[in-house]
Symmetry: C2
Subunit: 106 residues, 2 copies
């Protein structure tokens, strides 16, 4: 299983509409990707590791797929529509990482 | 539920011992934290979002707990031992984020 992490950097001017992201953007991604998307998760940044520090990322979304090929087949044809929706909920440019899920739950 | 993400930055000189992390470090964290830790996951960086780009993080570990209080109660007393083990598997200083899990699986 692979995981595509879409991480929105935090900062003093960072804006993020949690409701839009949870209720509209991610459900849209799920619908567009169809069976290529196994499931997704959403995190809201609360804090950093040091006392009184801010979370490095204001929010993160993670897409779980069987393989990189499955992700690309499901996401690729809809890239423009999905990316075009980003300004509707944030002014941040996400950092993206594709990871192998080495341990899914232990 | 909250999630503590421990993210190890990638780079040309980044070193990360996957076997040690998976077989020794994370099981040690689980044992030390006891019931305060619900479960953990491990990701291995494969690629970035742009074509032919590297993953921003060489690896990530995520600790899932009921609350920040539960995490701090479980991790706090063992901070020195856990942090002291880091040089045994990497030369990187992790970026740490505490997140609220808004959507656990959808």
């Amino acid at each position: 299983m692979i995981k595509v992490s879409v991480m929105y950097p935090n900062g003093p001017d960072a804006r993020f509409d949690d409701d839009y992201y949870r209720e509209r953007h991610m459900p849209m991604v799920k619908e567009l990707m169809g069976d290529a998307l196994m499931y997704y998760t959403i995190d809201r940044g609360m804090a950093g590791g040091a006392p009184a520090s801010n979370a490095p990322y204001i929010a993160m979304g993670h897409l779980f797929c069987d393989s990189v090929d499955a992700f690309q087949a499901g996401f690729g044809p809809h890239t423009k529509e999905i990316m075009g929706d980003i300004p509707n909920y944030t002014n941040q440019t996400p950092v993206v990482q594709i990871s192998q899920v080495v341990v899914g739950q232990a």
